[in-house]
Subunit: 398 residues, 2 copies
Amino acid sequence: MTSAPNLRLINVRQPNGDMVHLSIENGLISAITPAAQASSTPTHTQSIDAAGRLLFPGFVDAHAHIDKSLLGLPWYHNEVGPSLTDKIDNERRYRVEQGIDSYTQSSHVARRMINAGTTHVRTFVDIDTEIGLSGFDGVMRMRDEMRDELTVQVVAFPQSGMLARPGTVALMEAALRNGAHVVGGLDPSTIDRDPKGHLDTIFDMAARYNVDVDVHLHEPAELGALSVELIAERTAALGWQGRVVISHAFCLGGVDDSYTGKLIELLLKNDIAIMSHGPSGSRAAPPVKRLHQAGVRLCAGNDGIRDTWGPLNMPDMLLRAFLIAYRNNFRRDDELEIALHMCSYGGAHVIGAQNYGLAVGSPADLVIVNGQNHLEAMIERPPRWLVLKGGKIVQSAK
Amino acid sequence: MTSAPNLRLINVRQPNGDMVHLSIENGLISAITPAAQASSTPTHTQSIDAAGRLLFPGFVDAHAHIDKSLLGLPWYHNEVGPSLTDKIDNERRYRVEQGIDSYTQSSHVARRMINAGTTHVRTFVDIDTEIGLSGFDGVMRMRDEMRDELTVQVVAFPQSGMLARPGTVALMEAALRNGAHVVGGLDPSTIDRDPKGHLDTIFDMAARYNVDVDVHLHEPAELGALSVELIAERTAALGWQGRVVISHAFCLGGVDDSYTGKLIELLLKNDIAIMSHGPSGSRAAPPVKRLHQAGVRLCAGNDGIRDTWGPLNMPDMLLRAFLIAYRNNFRRDDELEIALHMCSYGGAHVIGAQNYGLAVGSPADLVIVNGQNHLEAMIERPPRWLVLKGGKIVQSAK
């Protein structure tokens, strides 16, 4: 990483309301002093007066699909059918027909993410026997080019099925050998029709390549709960506690309260994290507040951003926090805090961002916006006044 | 209304994609010509080149509570309890303690609405035995002052209960005598504990003051369905078809499919409209697409905007259309159109806006924004480039 110049941010408001000055050296926060305290900026250090604006740690999008976004392209007229396989088949067909380029699209979305204050993203990249590793290669190229501006973690993801589509496992292994950070799974019962086989294969890859696991689980109610149980068993057997995420996990809101309680116990025992992004629609979704209060680790992401699946998601984690709050009917301050946490510290923990936060020694991955209050900022969603990555200014609307 | 100068808008893109020029005379759209066609602007007429920007009819917020918004005040630290009565009691107490002024707050929210392109609003004003008509008087004063910029329709609304709080009916009648346009009801079984008595009283006022009816109905499942049936009976008995709205109507999504079908038949037979704003949370909500396809008239609104009930709603009908789409899991273009329709033509029909729309002879209540596509605009939500009310420029970000 190229070294960013030293910098001083004066008069920024921390999430607790305190006004402080922040010193940044070698890309890290080197000092935090109360704004009331007189202090001088060393010569040769650039100083920026934030005039009381709000300071956030860089946002963490822990679940995106940036290889297949259509953002920046002409409006996609969506006439897709209602089922999950309608959407998967429609996408695979469209992508080939239109020659959607993973590198171009993921670069575009990454830029929009950075502009919105995202400093870390975990992205799922489709791997299948039609496109092979072309999507993966495009995202890895973007990742290398943008490494000073955005930390990108790549999941090898069998969107079109894995066991049901022979040849996919070999491609996923190739991606893992070539730098994918995480192995992804998908609806073991409803897509591959073989929950044991699917999850055994995923966890086997996790062990052999020493990577974390992140499983998309749309399966509802008791069917999804079976997958949660099978994932927990394999997490325990492999000693993979703290290294497994279940994404979406609609089933946690779709079984009765006591069964949800049992599943929560399994998640806690095996330190399995849940990704929930405040899904669209009315279907059951994880009870975020209950999970948080029980101590389950939570994260969030923008999922598919303006793609053939649907047009509604945008690459903005303040909007995502708002949607989590909206979908969970959050009204109280302490509830809104949960949504913000999922989009920052929660996600940082899940993807393993080291020393993440607003402490001395943390990387200077920072967002500054107008506003009187951090919670209000997720509702007003002002333009990002300043975004820093490793102390480097990567977005400025000053 | 003061007369706005004549105006010509050139190169605006209609919702069907056509580029046109629009002539505005005496506050009305006087001509629409294809942009390809050569034409000249008469001398002494101001001309604005929209350069292909998107044209919408003014947005209609058919369900707001602007008298009690806290928008513009310091952040309200919300620690309210979970029940409906918690929220009602907390609000009544807070409003008195803090001296929240209806005129000031409603003026502030109205200005924000106008800036976001809303040209018509139906607002529910709390009337109770503590604050009497002070909230109502403040909104009516705002309404008179802003009549050139925003059409405001006022509902006399017994937020804290009506029969359960003796004296409320007399206050509501005073409001109706003093210019309230609509009589409002609220959860006949769960608040007043007397569905027959509540609705008889509401419809009796409607008949005596010759006003429309708009009933808040949060009651779930079969309990709410009872209220729908009772409302339909009274609509038929009074010949009030086309003059009744049921707002929220969560029960339409909370009973089984065949029962929903029967309720839809009742709504159609009595031409009762439904207001649904894509509610927060996961509870059952009206199946908007099914209702629309069945021919039930639909409208939407921003409901309580940043008040003691919750902080999430903002006075922006493009955001509202997005939230309706999100809550209903809309993905296809034809689905997104329903959400936009509810926030424009649907609401205009419900509140009785005459000649509303983008036709010759319509009032020049118009919104122009940047963008390539009208559906995309509800997702990108650009600043409103130009807003006109009766041909007068009321917001400009040019």
